[in-house]
C-alpha cells in the first residue's frame, strides 16, 4: 500500500516538474501570440492591449501560477484563433485518437502475442525462422508506407478490395457508430500491424529468457507438455515485460499517430497539436502538451502498479525486503537465508 501511495506522489511531482519545463520551453520559443491574434496590420498599441487581455504582460511566475490554478479548476485555456475552449477541443479530438489507439493496441496484441508464442513453441524450425523474419520486416515498415499499402489494398474507391473508407471521420462522430468504426479500421490496422510486429519480438525474447529455465522444467516435471509450460508458466513470468511494452506502446500511439492521422485525414489529437503549434498559439499548446505528458506519466504509473500486482517478489522488496522474509521463516533449517536469487 505504501508503494502505491509513494508511486502516486511521484506521479504528481513529475507532473509538476513537467508543467514547469513545458512552460519554460514555450516561453523561450520565438513567436508572439499577441501579434498573431492581432494580425499583420495591427498597431503596437493594439498588440499591447491584446497582450494585456491574454495576461502575457504579467511576470512569468504569475503567468505560470494562473495557468496551473486554471487547470486545477478544469480550465485549460482558450484557443485564440477559434475561440473554443482547449479542454473541449482536446475532448473532441480524443474521440478519434483514443479509440484509434485502443483499436491499434488490440490489433497489435491480437497479432503479437499468439505469433510470439508460436515463434518459440513451434516444432518446425522453418515456422520459427519465418515468423522471426516476418517480425523484423513488418516492424521496419514506416507507418506512412504501410498505411498507403493498406489503402491500395483495402481502401474504398482506390483499393483492390475496396471495402473500407480511407479518408476522414464522420461529422456526426460516434453517433454514426458503424461509419466511425469503419473509418478507423484502416488507420488502426496500419499502426497495429507495425506495433504487433514489435510486440511479437518482445514476447519472443521474453519467452526465450525463461524457455530453458528450470521454472519450465519444474512445470513439465509436474505433468505439463513443453508448449503448455511455455503458454502458462512462461507467459506468466514474461507478463510484466509484456505489460510494460503494451503500456508504452499505447502511450506512444496516442501521441505518435500524427503520420497516420494525416494520411487518413482524421481530426485527431496530433493534428490539433500541430495546427496550434503552426498558429503559435502557445497558450493552447502548453495545455495540450501537459495533457499528453500527463497521459504518458499516467501510463507509466499504471504499468508500475500492474507490475507490482503481478510479481510478489516486488512486494517484499518494497516493504523493506528482509521483513517479509523473516516473517515466515522458522527454525526448520536454522532459519537460514540464502542470498541466492
Amino acid at each position: 500500500m505504501t508503494f502505491v501511495l509513494k508511486r502516486c506522489a511521484a506521479f504528481v511531482v513529475a507532473l509538476i516538474v513537467q508543467s514547469a519545463a513545458i512552460f519554460v520551453c514555450l516561453r523561450i520559443l520565438p513567436g508572439d501570440l499577441a501579434m498573431v491574434v492581432g494580425g499583420t496590420s495591427s498597431t503596437p498599441e493594439q498588440v499591447a492591449r491584446i497582450r494585456q487581455q491574454l495576461g502575457l504582460d504579467q511576470p512569468y511566475p504569475v503567468q505560470y501560477w494562473n495557468w496551473l490554478s486554471g487547470i486545477l479548476h478544469g480550465d485549460l485555456g482558450t484557443a485564440q484563433l477559434s475561440g473554443a475552449s482547449v479542454a473541449g477541443e482536446i475532448a473532441d479530438r480524443l474521440q478519434v485518437t483514443l479509440p484509434l489507439a485502443l483499436m491499434g493496441l488490440a490489433v497489435a496484441l491480437a497479432i503479437g502475442l499468439p505469433l510470439g508464442v508460436l515463434s518459440v513453441t513451434s516444432r518446425s524450425a522453418r515456422v520459427r525462422r519465418g515468423l522471426q523474419i516476418a517480425a523484423i520486416v513488418a516492424g521496419s515498415i514506416p507507418a506512412l508506407w504501410g498505411g498507403l499499402l493498406l489503402i491500395m489494398l483495402l481502401g474504398r474507391g482506390v483499393g483492390l478490395l475496396g471495402v473500407l473508407p480511407s479518408q476522414g471521420f464522420p461529422v456526426r462522430g460516434w453517433h454514426a457508430f458503424g461509419r466511425a468504426l469503419s473509418s478507423l479500421a484502416l488507420p488502426a490496422l496500419s499502426v497495429g500491424i507495425i506495433a504487433g510486429a514489435e510486440f511479437m519480438r518482445y514476447t519472443r525474447s521474453a519467452l526465450l529468457e525463461v524457455r530453458d529455465s528450470d521454472y519450465l522444467a519444474q512445470a513439465m516435471a509436474c505433468g505439463m507438455t513443453r508448449a503448455q509450460a511455455v503458454r502458462t508458466v512462461g507467459l506468466r513470468l514474461a507478463a510484466p515485460q509484456i505489460v510494460s511494452v503494451a503500456g508504452l506502446t499505447f502511450a506512444g500511439m496516442l501521441t505518435g499517430v500524427i503520420v497516420v492521422e494525416n494520411l487518413f485525414a482524421l481530426p485527431g489529437l496530433a493534428t490539433l497539436l500541430m495546427d496550434d503549434l503552426g498558429n503559435r498559439d502557445l497558450l493552447a499548446v502548453q495545455s495540450e502538451l501537459l495533457v499528453l505528458t500527463a497521459f504518458f506519466l499516467f501510463m507509466g504509473l499504471v504499468v508500475d502498479l500492474v507490475h507490482h500486482a503481478l510479481d510478489p517478489r516486488l512486494k517484499a522488496a518494497a516493504s523493506g525486503g528482509a521483513d517479509g522474509a523473516d516473517g515466515v521463516a522458522d527454525g526448520t533449517d536454522g532459519a537460514r537465508k540464502e542470498g541466492t536469487r
Binding site: 529455465s213 513439465m220 516435471a221 505439463m224 517484499a316
Partner: protein, 267 residues
Amino acid sequence: MSLIVHDLTVDVAARGRRAPARPIVRGVDLRVDDGERVGLVGPSGSGKSMVSRAILGILPPHLTAGGSVLLGDTQMIGADENIAASMRGSYTGAVFQNPAAALNPVRTVGQSIALPLRLHYELDRDEIRERVLRQMRAVELPERLESAYPHELSGGQRQRVAIAAALVTSPRLIIADEPTTALDAVVQRRIVDLLVSLVDDLGSSLLFITHDFAVLKRATTRCYVMEAGRIVEEGATEALLHDARHAVTQSLVEAATALSLRGGEEA
C-alpha cells in the same frame, strides 16, 4: 521394474552441414528396481543431468535422445508429448538442483505443491488443499507457509517444497537431480534423510543424481558412475567406496572423504 534405460544417447541436434550432431551421452544402460534407491554419480559435465532429463522427456529443444527409456510399460523415447507429459508428475516425481530457480516465483507454496494434483486428477478444492497440507506436514513445513512465496523461504524450506511437489501424487519413481548441491552441509543431510525416509514410506524407487559420494552413501544402495557421457562403473555403493576400480570413481570417493573432516566412514 520402475525404470529400464537401454543404450540411451543424447545428442546436440544437427543444424545443417556446418554443425553436425554432437554426442553428449553415449550408450547408457541402467535399471532401477521397485523400491530400490540407485545413485548416478559423476563429475560435473559428465552428462548425468542430461540422462535424468532424457528419462523424463524434458530435454531442451536443441537436444535429441535415442535408445530406450521404459517407465513401467511406457516407452518415453519418441513418445507422443501428451503421453510423456501424462507420466511426469504421476508415475515420476522430480526434484531439481536449485529450488530457487525451479519453483514458480509467482505461485505460492500451496499452489506449487498442488500443481501435479491439478494436472493429473480431478479433485475439488478441499481435497487438493487437504492433500497439500498433508504433504506439507510430511516434509515438516509449517502449515502457515502454504500461502508464502518461494522468495520468502530459506533454501532448505524451498527444497522441502520441491520434494513435497514431487511426492504429492505418490509416484512410483522419484528422480532427484543434485537436490542438495545448493544447500549447506547441515541442511543437506536433513534433506537427504527426509527424502530417503519419504521414498521408503511410499515404497517408491529413487534415482539420485549427484557428484558427492558422501551424500550418495546416505541415500542409495547401488550406483552407477558416469564419465564423459558413458557409464564407466557400477556396483553397491558401499563396495565402490572401499574398492573403486575406475580412476573417476576413486577421485570422487577421495574428494568426498577429504571434504568430511572426520573421514569417509562418518560422512
